[in-house]
Amino acid sequence: MSADTFVEHGGGMGPGMGGGADLDLSATTAATFVIEATEPAPGTIPALSAPPGFTPGDAVNPDAPKEFVLSTSRMSHRINGNQWEGRIVTDIETVKAGTVELGSSSTSHRWPAPCISTASRSRWCPAPGTTTAWPGNGPVSATV
């Protein structure tokens, strides 16, 4: 398995204030799979159903989905224009454990937004080099 590494500065666990993305698409080896010399048994990749226990019908706010407009200003990440502060949990950031809420997030900024953990996307992240749906490259919508 090879890895075309995409070095995206900022947004990591270490110190850093984010920044533009440096692309390093040199292929390196992440792991080597040594295949046993036996008759192949290809099998099939299962067709999966909807995620268990998680459907829009379970949402407690079907008529008032939350909206998260992500942006970056003055070296800080913002939600709906308010600076995201990890030590202060606002109402919009709170979901009661064991419940499902509907919401959507969007960003048009080139910086990745680290304050949203996406549980289900409305579409898939594309490969590097494409221009949409990756938080660092353009608008994206997601269900959180």
């Binding site: 090879s2 890895a3 070095v7 990591g12 270490g14 850093g16 295949i35 099939t44 990749i45």
Partner: protein, 266 residues
């Protein structure tokens, strides 16, 4: 289930034949299924096998010489069980966790989380996988057992004497650290013996800043079947995308397009 978990200085052979000083999580089962704590690899902590609906009690002991705490990344737990930086404990102290696993089956992870030290402590080894299962869930048809593999993707910069270097330059501090050596499951040049059959591969990008676009060197497809702790409702485009922190289990077949002997997909 009751576990004992601790963080301590250790050594690991990340590069073959070279010993590196690292930090590491270690654990044992006090009460419950002994299989709940799997073996760790290299500097990585043991894989914790948890079940949806299970009550988990963990005594975490800090055996380092600096503050530390454990964050259960992706698990839905109460605030005081989440291992936030404000919960960090000093050396010699113990933090008592007691929570119920509410999450769906999937791949999660745990890592240290003190303020201003998370990146470097994870870099030095304080991380491990959590695999949540649900014995009552319907069989989803995915490969299981020894056909269910987990790969933790990270990067390191390692001096010839084994010393781990981290964020030594201003650029690293400002922009995020990127190591020059890919390390998978705690070792460089990981080799995995497989049969030419479908496998489920759980991928965790535990790197500080490096994202990876994963492919087979043979050009075959990787199919994403789940992400961030839940199965996907449909097959993805054939790709494997892994950015730091989200967990994206994939199902890839190692079956080559034509019959091969001891070949390798790398």
């Amino acid at each position: 289930m009751k576990l004992r978990l601790w963080a301590e200085p250790a050594t690991a052979e990340i590069v073959a034949g070279v010993s590196s000083d690292v930090y590491s999580f270690r654990a044992d089962v006090v009460d419950g299924d002994p299989a709940a704590v799997g073996p760790g690899t290299s500097f990585l902590g043991p894989t914790l096998q948890l079940q949806t609906g299970q009550r988990v009690q963990i005594d975490f002991e800090n055996r380092l010489d600096e503050a530390c705490i454990v964050h259960w990344h992706g698990l839905n737990v109460p605030q005081d069980q989440d291992g936030q930086p404000t919960d960090a404990i000093e050396p010699g102290n113990t933090y008592h966790y007691d929570f119920t696993v509410l999450n769906r089956p999937g791949t999660y992870w745990y890592h240290t989380h003190p303020h201003g030290r998370t990146g470097e402590q994870v870099y030095r080894g304080l991380a491990g996988l959590i695999i949540v299962t649900d014995p009552t869930a319907a069989d989803n048809g995915l490969p299981t057992g020894d056909h269910d593999l987990a790969l933790v993707l990270q990067d390191r910069t390692i001096d010839p004497d084994g010393t781990l270097r981290y964020a030594g330059a201003m650029h690293d501090t400002m922009a995020g650290f990127v190591g020059d050596t890919l390390v998978t499951n705690g070792v460089a040049d990981l080799q995995v013996a497989v049969r030419p059959e479908p496998y489920r591969i759980r991928l965790l990008n535990g790197a500080n800043s490096r994202s990876q676009y994963l492919t087979w060197s043979t050009g075959e497809s990787l199919h994403v079947v789940a992400t961030d702790g839940h199965l996907s409702p449909r097959r993805s485009p054939p790709m494997g995308w892994s950015s730091p922190r989200p967990n994206a289990p994939t199902c890839g077949s190692t079956s080559p397009p034509s019959r091969r002997g001891n070949g390798s997909n790398s």
